[in-house]
Symmetry: C2
Subunit: 234 residues, 2 copies
């Protein structure tokens, strides 16, 4: 699965959050970045080039800081220009049909402000409906929104957790399943194992065995559970 991260950020080069996110994924070959503010500082899009780019990817991510409850204007200009009706509508050529659309958004306010009665009064899911509607119209699967709240206040441990979650959001082909999440972790650890020194491999193998055995046990329990349910239904 190939992933394209389309970034809208008027101050991209000065953003610590964006620099961190970039460092999180720079070793992954299946992920490419498109920084709109760099490629198109005049908002003047090469429509054909960008349409050709989009069709090469299975997962498309819009990544941006939240400005007035939406992306910075340049992403809207990209949508207005590149996502032409013919190209995008599922009931026309539907060139995005079957792909996935994800949102990575960074918030200056704490995430708990985004609730009924909170300072922001609306949830992130409510605010993002225009993107969900776009995905629906294009026949794309809309992924759960990935919010990063107040990055600058994160502890080192919080940043490591963010790194893992973000890499999974870009590359895990079944984001919504706990089972697939586990398999993804096993894969990642096996990749890391190839690059560590021999003396550390024994420790890593024990960890891998433990996770694999947990995974098998859980699989078995799920199977037993499904048998019990089947009997109840008879």
């Amino acid at each position: 699965m190939k992933t394209l991260v389309i970034i809208a950020h008027p101050k991209y080069d000065n953003s610590m959050t964006q620099a961190f996110l970039k460092s999180c994924q720079k070793d992954i070959d299946s992920v490419d970045l498109l920084v709109l503010d760099r490629e198109y500082p005049n908002y003047d899009f090469d429509v054909k080039k960008e349409q050709k780019r989009l069709i090469k990817y299975e997962r498309i991510i819009f990544q941006f800081p939240l400005y007035w409850y939406s992306a910075p204007a340049i992403l809207k200009k990209y949508q207005d220009d590149v996502l032409t009706r013919n190209f995008t509508y599922k009931d026309e050529y539907g060139c995005l049909d079957g792909k996935e659309l994800g949102i990575v958004t960074t918030l200056g306010e704490p995430i708990h402000h985004y609730h009924d009665g909170g300072d922001e009064a609306f949830t992130i899911d409510e605010i993002m409906k225009p993107y969900h509607a776009l995905a629906h119209k294009a026949g794309m699967k809309f992924l759960p929104i990935f919010s990063i709240s107040q990055f600058n206040y994160l502890t080192e441990h919080g940043k490591v957790k963010l790194l893992v979650r973000y890499r999974s959001y870009l590359t895990n082909s079944h984001l919504n399943s706990f089972k697939s999440e586990q398999l993804w972790y096993l894969e990642q650890l096996q990749l890391i194992r190839e690059h560590i020194s021999e003396d550390k491999k024994a420790g890593m193998d024990m960890l891998l065995d433990q996770i694999q055995s947990n995974y098998d046990k859980l699989d078995e329990l799920n199977w037993e559970l499904s048998m019990i349910k089947e009997k109840e239904d008879e």
Copy 2:
């Protein structure tokens, strides 16, 4: 009450809908237009000038065709640039606090497509949450959204109804009240009366008397109803 209509439309001069809406209000002194695409074709806003403009109005309307479930990009650029945090946030200078924010949007699809299970899957109210959230943050009252669906298919009668509704949306200071709606109609008819020929005034006076008497009767019934309710509560 003064109203500013901020229009975002990349093809403003060719739009029949926008030409119609302009003709609907051009005689009203208390309504001004700002066509963003004309004033700022390069998206390069004069922030101070636009902030000074905003504070002169009590009602601010964003008017635009719906592009990807939002306004064309130029309005977002206006928001990102002109509505600075200091100027806008209710808990900072709050220069828009107490004003009203309205949305006039034109749709290419029938309005009944904008529903759960409809072609568009989301309602206009859901899609417009980012504007509602902006109003909330600025301490502005968010007006009911004014949607115009498939203008080109409207009959002449439909257009006349639209004209009256639109004028009311721009100038009626109490949009949500039936009583105020009636008073607004009476005012409008009295204004028209001043500009018609003497021989038609008699007919107009009969009409005005009839509406005034309906209004008085309704007022009386409402009063009686409130008396009955008061007794029931005792």
